[in-house]
Structure formats: C-alpha cells, structure tokens
Symmetry: C2
Subunit: 184 residues, 2 copies
DNA sequence: TAGATGTTTCAGAAAAAACTGAAACGACTG
DNA sequence: CAGTCGTTTCAGTTTTTTCTGAAACATCTA
C-alpha cells in the first residue's frame, strides 16, 4: 500500500515531529498527505499509518487549526478528503505565520507587560534585559512582516541573490546607536 | 529571593519551552540565567526554582550542548557558575544555528537520500514533491548562511531597512526558471 | 589518605502526553 | 422516522518524558 520511499519519508517526519512541538501521528499524517497526489480521507490514513480512527480525527483537527491541510469534497461522497497545498511557498508562509502566532506573539505580549511594571531597583537589570529581548524580537518580526508582503516571485529572486544582498548591506548606512542623552 | 517580575518571566519561559522542543526546567533555568546579572551556580538554581539538584545538573548539560550558556569560574571557588552571553544577537545566532543543525540538516540529508533512489513509476509524484521540498529548504538555508556572514551591525542595518529592501526587491530581475534543456 | 566539597549518573517514581475503543453525535437518504 | 455513513468526544490505558534521591565519582585540602 505504501512504497518504501513514502514509508521512509513518513516515518522521518513522525520522528522529526517530536523535535518540533508536533506529535508523531500529526507529523506522519502531514507527510502522507504531502506525498499523495490524490486527496486522502481519514480511513485512508488509518489504513496507511495503522493508527486508530480517533487519533487520525484528532490529528487532522490539529492540522486544520494550523491551516496546514485543505478540505476537499468529492461530488456524491460525504466523506472529508484532505490535501496539503500544492504551493510549497504557501506551506512555508503558513508554517511561519502559525509559529509566530503561537510562539512569538504571546511572548512579546508578556515582555511588554513586564516592561511596563513599575520597577523596583533590584529589577533594574532584569528589566533592561527584557527590553533588549523585546526590541530584538520586534526588529525581527517587523522585518519578517515586510518580507511577507512580497509576492513569492520577488521573494525568491531576493533569496537567490545572496551575494548581491551582501553588497547591498555593505552600502547600508549604519545609524549611530540611540542613547539616553539628549544630544545636540 | 525572586522578585515577582523575574518569577513571572521564568514561569513564562518554562511554559513556552514545551511549545518548542524544550522542557520546562531547561526553559526556566535559561530564563533565570538570562535575567541574572551575576553568574549563578547549580545550587543557586535549585534554590531559585525549587527543582532537584540532579535535574538542574542535567538541564545545564543540555543547555551547554546547545552552547546557550557559558561557564564561569570564580577565583578560589571550585563551583561552576553559568551565564548567558551578554549579546542578544549572539544568542539568536546560536539558537538558529543549533536548531538548523538538529531540525533542518537531518531532514535535508534524508531528502537527498530519498531523491537518489531509483524511482518506481508509482513514486514519481512523491519524488517530485520531495525534490521541491529539498530545493526550497536549500534556498532558505543558503540565504541564511549568507546573512549569517554579515557582522551584526550591518545585519541590524539591513533589518531596519524593511521598506528600502522592498524597493530593492522590486528592482530584482526575476530570472527565468532553469530547465533541463540545454539552452543556447 | 581521610574528609570535604562539588558534579554526574542512574534506576525507579511521578507526571504528562499520546493513543485507543466505544459511545455519542450529526446529517443525509430512502 | 429509522437506518446508514461518517465524524467527534471522552474515559481509561499505554507510552514517553521528566524528575528525583541515592550512590558513584572526581578533585582539592589538611
């Protein structure tokens, strides 16, 4: 039912899953869908992966909440079929977007909240460190938002231009660090 | 011993840890070190976090394997003290580097290996998909390697130039896709 | 070398996460 | 409405991961 090639790919993503925050079955289901030209339904996955029906159901729900799978329907068939988007770039964008939402945004919120706190003297260093972290994250996410606006073609072109981009960076004027002093 | 502010930060990173592949104690220890102006020793952390000595020991080892903490020694004191690097950028670089090593590189290896396989007809689609994934990952990591070469100052300047970078991308010539045909 | 101080290891306990089967549910269909 | 087909939920079990305390180890010091 499943060629060695696909088997191996699927198992790899199952294992890999645990290094991310993803559980094995979710990883395997995603991998199976990714490699399948045809949409698959829950029972297909049960057969392919040998896990329980309910596990498949839960895992698909999880994948849907990540917007990583698409629901398809066949005319005259009540079952839900699933695929991954054809466009790999779309997949990457979704993945980054969702991870940002779940991993970065809550942290940013927390950091801002801690920063606001009227700080006792003993916390001066900690608060400075928190600010530093917040600023860095904002810089990175802000930049990411910019990149995300580009259409895929331009983005690919940009990524392909590693060397040229380096040159561009050379020309970038480095702004003096902002200090607390009011400099005139 | 631990102000509310720091307490909260530490707990947040403990929770957050699980969304990454990191366990709670590891996250908490890292957070505690991050906020501490002074290096801390294992027993300090036991006191601060209320976990067992051996847990702290294991977790510190884990953090060391990630190169996320630095060992310090005080003259005339046999104990190991730990800090996080002062430079946030260094932290980010390390983090990305290590995650790449653990999460991307093994996958890339596996993908290449599967791609080489003499493909049976039924695997044609799967293999095409694998190639697509491999190429995309290579593009992204290749680009990352370029960025990683920049000194921090230039990198920051570049990141701060979101808008300008967009314009730059506009000007980027979009190269025609490479095909198998030998074009003259 | 005996003792003091600090770190690491490891087998088992505790906690958390993943998974299952069975039952509930929902929505069409004759 | 009764039956069919498919999905979802959930209490309980299994598996995995994390954590602990005790013992082993290592190094310095009197």
């Amino acid at each position: 039912m499943l060629s060695d090639l696909r088997q191996e790919f699927i198992l790899h993503f199952g294992e890999m899953g645990s290094r991310w925050g993803i559980n094995r079955t979710v990883g395997q289901i995603y991998a199976a869908l990714f490699l399948s030209e045809e949409p698959l339904c829950a029972d297909d996955l049960v057969g392919l992966l040998g896990v329980s029906r309910s596990n498949v159901s839960m895992s698909l729900k999880e994948l849907q909440s990540w917007s990583l799978v698409q629901l398809k329907h066949r005319p005259g068939d009540r079952r839900d079929f699933f695929t991954t988007p054809d466009d790999m770039w779309q997949i990457v964008r979704t993945l980054v977007e969702e991870r940002k939402k779940r991993e970065i945004d809550p942290t940013l919120t927390k950091l801002r909240q801690l920063e606001m706190r009227p700080g006792s003297a003993e916390d001066a260093y900690a608060q400075a460190r928190i600010t530093e972290m917040r600023e860095l994250i904002e810089l990175l996410t802000g930049w990411y938002d910019q990149m995300n606006k580009l259409e895929t073609e331009r983005l690919v072109a940009l990524l392909n231009m590693g060397a040229k981009l380096q040159k561009f960076a050379q020309s970038a004027r480095i702004l003096p660090k902002r200090t607390n002093k009011t400099e005139n």
